[in-house]
């Protein structure tokens, strides 16, 4: 036995020396591979979006027809051209249409243009919107998006973050009281989350705005916006109550249910029993034996909550007339404003892959069993 101990000791010694440069090289290689793989994912995702929003090129036909109609209306409405004979007029219209088509490069094959769109999107050269403008009148997609993002973040961050942490907190509490009446009530309420948030929103508006007149129907601040910062904040908070409640009401029960089941599974692990036998306090057990080993999935869930925040809630924002990214996307889709849609998708795609990339590294930090780069067991 003693010799066995010695050999194991002897083996573990030199390993420490070569470990550090080894680890660096391994992590470097891994980071490189992972970045390439994720970049390819983004390229595919964005290109698919470009294809879909352009209807695989069919949108060009619609656009040319639109141009012809607009140009035609313009020419026919121009009093200086009224004297021209109809054939000249038609020729003039055709010339203008060709010019406009050339300006928009619609005469080039869709495939060539789709690659250009892709490159522009990937380099965050988001270009100009076709129809939509920002509140300040700019057609820059970047400006349009930047203007909407704070509103969306404000709403969904306050709703989803309180939902996330609230649900975990309550779930931990319930997992300790598994089978109690409170637990049963929450479980029974879980299917209520199949109802979308905007549906709760409509009911909340009905009750608190329409019937009770204590909260506003929608929008972000009162019109006209209050002068002082304090009043402005107060008005903002008042406008936030209903949409935030709608999101929380929608998600809370099913989130608690999920996390509670998750914690229940992990608190029946042998090492939790062992910790109890060791006479550790309930708080220590909860922190070191339940939360700590389950941190990686909690962090994943949190990261995806963060990504989800940026997208906004399309219908909810529309119901509450909230000037966020969700509502912007809704408007852009309904009028085929391709650059705005693509710009939005590119933004989300980049955020998503960055999160996934960071998650891989965070996992390795949190869980010693995860070794970045798939090294053989130490």
């Amino acid at each position: 036995m003693a010799s066995g101990v010695l050999t194991e000791k002897a083996l573990s010694r030199p390993k420490i020396g070569i470990r550090i440069p080894d680890t660096l090289a391994r992590i470097g290689k891994y980071v490189l591979y992972r970045s390439v793989a994720l970049f390819v994912t983004v390229v595919i995702g964005v290109y698919l979006t470009v294809l879909i929003v352009n209807m695989g090129g069919y949108l060009d036909t619609i656009r040319i027809a639109q141009i012809r109609e607009q140009v035609g209306a313009g020419v026919l409405g121009d009093p200086t051209l009224q004297t021209l004979p109809p054939s000249e007029l038609r020729k003039h219209i055709d010339e203008l249409v060709v010019l406009e088509v050339q300006r928009l490069r619609l005469d080039q094959p869709f495939f060539v243009r789709s690659v250009d769109y892709l490159v522009d999107a990937l380099t965050l050269n988001l270009g100009r919107a076709e129809i939509m403008t920002s509140n300040s009148g700019s057609k820059q997609v970047r400006l349009i998006l930047l203007e909407r993002i704070p509103a969306t973040l404000l709403l969904s961050a306050s709703a989803n973050l309180s939902l996330f942490f609230g649900a975990i907190f309550v779930a931990l509490f319930l997992s300790r009281r598994y089978g109690s009446w409170l637990d049963r009530i929450v479980i029974a309420m879980a299917p209520s989350s199949t109802v979308p948030a905007w549906f709760y929103g409509i009911f909340l508006i009905l009750i608190f705005a329409s019937l009770l007149h204590i909260l506003p129907f929608g929008g972000m601040v009162a019109a006209p916006p209050p002068e002082s910062t304090f009043d402005y904040t107060l008005s903002l908070l008042k406008h936030m109550i209903l949409p935030v409640s709608a999101i929380i009401l929608h998600g809370i029960f099913v989130s608690i249910y999920q996390w509670r089941t998750f914690f229940l599974i992990y608190s029946s692990e042998d090492y939790v029993d062992m910790a109890k036998a060791k006479g550790l306090t309930a708080r220590t057990i909860e922190r070191r034996y339940i939360l700590r080993p389950t941190l990686p999935p909690i962090v994943t869930s949190f990261a995806f909550t963060l990504i989800y925040l940026w997208q906004g809630a399309i219908i909810l924002e529309t119901v509450f007339a909230w000037p966020g990214v969700g509502r912007l996307l809704y408007q852009a889709i309904s009028i085929f404003d391709v650059p705005v849609i693509v710009g939005n998708v590119v933004l989300i795609a980049y955020l998503l892959v960055t999160t996934v990339f960071l998650l891989d590294i965070i996992y390795a930090l949190l869980d010693p069993r995860v070794k970045v780069g798939g090294e053989r067991r130490a």
């Binding site: 036995m1 003693a2 101990v5 194991e8 000791k9 573990s12 598994y178 089978g179 692990e269 042998d270 090492y271 029993d273 062992m274 910790a275 109890k276 036998a277 060791k278 006479g279 550790l280 306090t281 220590t284 070191r288 034996y289 700590r292 080993p293 941190l295 949190l366 869980d367 010693p368 069993r369 067991r377 130490a378």
Partner: protein, 322 residues
């Protein structure tokens, strides 16, 4: 005879299940002297592990009946509230080596920290706890530089040693070993048993060893308790139990152990152990017992045979074998 370090009297632990009440531990009484090792032998599902959990009060949620007396130092542990039990009994007076050491170690905490944890929790002082852990690692034969490893980086035998180190770190009076070697290969088993024997010699610790492995248990045992269907059917010293067991079940059990160059056929016990739900009155072994007679329809008492030997069988109704 000294005062026993642990004295268990009429311990019951019944569970509620959908089909009825599971009588996993049913009227169990035994005592344990200082530096003594008692082995609980029995088939799978006879309530051995549940007995360990009942003594350490590690109860599932569906407990139906949990009564009896467990004395340590004149205190009835069953009367302590949960918080006092946690502070004064768990790992201070009694510790445990679990069945599967892999799952019993937290995967994301270094094993050294886990071994130090009980000392820290019960006596404070993180630094001393680590020093204590280092000392106990050496005692069970785990290299000290393994302290900064994680459970998944250790072999099965090393893990089991870590679990034993963890049980010994606070120098408790009683260590419950719940099948400490059943998942290991024979060589590792022998190593672990040697470690336990050495520790028993070097310290004052008493052991409760729970196992179905008769041959390895004989290494450590001073006394043996045979368990069948949630009850102790025989309490005997190791020497007598392994050579001339009293209870018909123990006799059959010993006859089923293979030995080298054996000419006689290995025996087995026909039939199945009873389900612990809705047990019939009378001796629980009667349906499988070769010496069954009419009296077996009544539940036999635990008959005192003198010299701390007890047997739960009507054959010994007069204090000696019929």
């Amino acid at each position: 005879m000294d005062k026993p370090i642990l004295n268990v009297e009429n311990l019951y632990l019944h569970f509620r299940a959908t089909k009825g009440i599971v009588q996993a531990v049913d009227d169990v009484s035994f005592d344990l002297q200082r530096n003594e090792a008692i082995v609980f032998l029995g088939e799978s599902g006879c309530g051995k592990t549940t007995l360990a959990k009942a003594i350490l009060r590690l109860l599932p949620r569906n407990v139906h009946k949990y009564t009896g007396k467990v004395y340590m130092d004149d205190t009835n542990l069953m009367e302590l509230d949960d918080e006092r039990f946690r502070r004064e009994v768990r790992w201070v007076k009694m510790s445990m080596v679990p069945q599967a050491a892999m799952n019993s170690l937290n995967p994301v905490i270094r094993v050294g920290d886990q071994v130090a944890e009980p000392t820290e929790a019960h006596f404070g002082l993180k630094k001393e706890a680590l020093a204590q852990a280092r000392e106990v690692f050496q005692r069970v034969g785990v290299p000290v530089d393994f302290m900064s490893r994680y459970a998944f980086e250790l072999s099965g035998g090393m893990r089991q040693r870590v679990a034993i180190a963890m049980a010994l770190v606070t120098s408790p009076d009683v260590v419950i070993l719940d099948e400490p070697t059943s998942a290991l290969d024979v060589l590792t088993q022998a190593n672990i048993m040697n470690v336990l024997k050495r520790i028993k010699k070097e310290t004052e610790t008493s052991f409760i060893l729970i196992t179905h492995d008769i041959s390895t248990s004989s290494e450590l045992a001073d006394r043996v308790a045979g368990m069948y269907a949630g009850q102790i059917i025989e309490l005997n010293d190791a020497e007598h139990f392994f050579s001339t067991p009293l209870h018909p079940y123990s006799q059959k059990l010993m006859a089923s152990v293979p030995t080298l160059h054996q000419t006689k056929k290995l025996e087995f016990i026909p039939g199945q152990p009873p389900s612990l739900i809705n047990l019939l009155p009378g001796c629980r072994f009667a349906p499988r017992c070769p010496s069954k007679f009419e009296k077996c329809a009544q539940d036999p008492p635990l008959i005192d045979m003198g010299e701390r030997r007890k047997v739960k069988c009507w054959l010994y109704a007069n204090g000696k074998e019929k």
